[in-house]
């Protein structure tokens, strides 16, 4: 086959792949068509890879084959992790994607320098800087999520200044390289400095900020890939990078809205969020508690139960017990639904995946807009491992750090039950006034075993 003929085939295959990628995301809009979306994506990827292997410039296939085989060997276990580990797996895959971008950018630089036009060099700098910082930032995020690293934010005075100076330095060097692409000795710096920045960017960020951070890193990885497309003159890469970048962008906006933080605050790496931990109020009111038997008796008398899951449910691995509770209650003719806050869990949509894994039908999972009007009719709102997203102080207490954050209005339900290990405040260090309401019952204990006892009470013997 002649070189031009194979190039035409490659280009046409890339067009087909781009179309399939867009269709993949379009089909993902509803659960009924979503799996078709995955198949479309797989087909597009297969077509693109096979077409690329036809490229006449490839002189030998041994390294490619080794790379593809090794990648598959690493990829399979990463695709088989437990559902509770999906956030850290996602962070790890952002790291891999960004790593690939940075490597390709570095290789391209040394192959082409000093004959690089300012435009290509700009794209290369964006690719390498974003790729490197996303690589270490995602590894840090994965480490925090896996709890290999401490989850709590680590802050020091002048942190924002230090971080922004590090990033600024990398940008200044990049600008110098754009003007003088022959200065190859400086290139390692725009790899190394962003690698350092990636670490220092995640250090001040706590576990509950992870949904925002993961979305942000998702969009960085996408922008980096799009920049790579400009360097390699691949429209397919530009399309895929733009799609990934916009999905990360949209999710970041949704997450930052759900935490009532400005988008610029998030764009610059969620700095400044941590200071709120100082704002603890020590007004201890009285709380009412209940045993599993008492709680079960109240739940059994209800017509409509809304379960509000949070990260605590994931930590306790309680989702299967929660499904048993759902089954026991529906069997008795009680209407059971789930109210899911956008930032519940450690990544966007985390709770939905865990509940789907436990076989809860997805039409029972309500997002915040649909759940909030329901609470007025709810007899029992059962909060499992969620805290700040249920705090009514967000509505009225202007001095509260979470004032203005959209919450699930569980306090509108007739009775509120909160399963919790103890009275410790949530991540933001804020006292939750929900716990002191007259209508609230605190159910102290481990989420999994407490829900287990509720199930036993309700399904065994019809209550007392």
């Amino acid at each position: 086959m002649s070189a031009t003929a194979s190039n035409t085939i490659i280009e046409l295959s890339y067009v087909a792949a781009a179309v399939l990628f867009v269709l993949a995301l379009k089909w993902l809009s509803a659960p009924s068509t979503a799996r078709r979306g995955v198949w479309a994506g797989e087909l597009g990827m297969l077509i693109a890879i096979v077409a690329t292997l036809l490229y006449h410039g490839i002189v030998s296939y041994e390294w490619i084959a080794i790379g593809l085989v090794l990648g598959t060997i690493i990829g399979v276990p990463l695709g088989m992790v437990q559902m509770t580990a999906v956030p850290q797996r996602t962070a790890l895959s952002h790291a891999f994607g960004a790593f690939a971008s940075a490597l390709v950018g570095t290789a391209e630089f040394y192959l082409r320098a000093p004959n690089i036009t300012p435009f290509v060099m700009s794209a290369l700098a964006i690719e390498v800087i974003l790729g490197s910082l996303t690589f270490t930032a995602s590894l840090m995020a994965a480490g925090k999520l896996q709890e290999v690293l401490p989850q709590r934010p680590i802050t020091y005075k002048g942190q924002n200044f230090v971080n922004l100076s590090i990033l600024g330095l990398a940008i200044i060097i990049a600008v110098y390289l754009i003007v003088n692409p022959g200065a190859t000795a400086l290139f390692p710096l725009i790899v190394a400095i962003p690698l350092l920045f990636g670490v220092s960017m995640i250090v001040p960020i706590g576990g509950a900020d992870m949904p925002t951070v993961i979305s942000l890193l998702n969009s960085y990885a996408g922008i980096s890939a799009a920049a790579m497309g400009f360097v390699l003159r691949s429209k397919l890469l530009i399309v895929a990078g733009a799609l990934d970048g916009s999905s990360g962008f949209i999710l970041s906006v949704i997450m930052s809205r759900a935490m009532n933080r400005s988008f610029t605050n998030v764009l610059f790496g969620a700095f400044g969020q941590v200071q709120v931990s100082a704002a603890r109020t020590e007004e201890a009111g009285t709380v009412r508690t209940a045993s599993p038997e008492e709680a079960a008796a109240i739940i059994e008398a209800a017509n409509y139960v809304m379960i509000v899951p949070g990260y605590g449910m994931a930590v306790a691995q309680a989702q299967h017990k929660v499904r048993e509770l759902y089954d026991a209650l529906t069997k008795r003719g009680i209407d059971v639904k789930f109210a899911i806050h956008p930032v519940a869990g450690r990544m966007p949509g985390h709770m939905n995946v865990l509940l789907a894994e436990a076989d809860v039908p997805y039409d029972k999972l309500l997002d915040m807009e649909n759940a909030n009007p329901e609470f007025a009719q709810v007899d029992v709102a059962l909060v499992i491992g969620a805290n700040d997203v249920t705090n009514p102080a967000a509505r009225h207490d202007k001095s509260s750090p979470i004032y203005g954050m959209p919450i699930l209005e569980v306090d509108k339900a007739r009775t509120v039950m909160v399963i919790k290990r103890g009275m410790s405040p949530g991540f933001a260090g804020i006292e939750n006034e929900l716990y002191y309401l007259e209508k609230t019952l605190m159910l102290f204990g481990d989420a999994k075993s407490f829900v287990g006892s509720l199930v036993r009470e309700i399904s065994g013997g019809g209550g007392h």
Partner: protein, 101 residues
């Protein structure tokens, strides 16, 4: 600027808008699979890595290219695999699951 760069900019801007419109419609229910799927699609960077690893223009480029093939291929395989596993779990069934709403 060459006309190729201009057309690439068109592609970027239009794909960005298209992505925004398409992804905006994805239900919050599926935000986790959305992220893992876009991650897998983003690993199309594997095609760039394959070319660099196969061209053998320099030892450094071959090593970096091969590593990039490993990293992005693991995202291709892992990303599609976990997305499909997650989506398979989203079901409407269940004893009284499909009755209402």
């Amino acid at each position: 600027m060459s006309s190729e760069l201009i057309s690439n900019l068109y592609v970027l801007v239009l794909a960005g808008f298209l992505g925004f419109e398409v992804i905006r419609r994805v239900s919050p229910l599926l935000h986790t699979p959305l992220m893992s799927l876009t991650n897998a699609l983003d690993a199309i960077a594997v095609v760039g890595a394959i070319v660099i690893a196969g061209e053998h223009k320099s030892t450094l480029a071959t090593i970096l290219g091969t590593l990039a093939v490993v990293a992005s291929m693991s995202n291709v395989v892992g990303g599609f695999l976990i997305t499909d596993r997650m989506l398979r779990m989203f079901k409407l069934r269940g004893a009284d699951g499909a009755k209402k709403s």
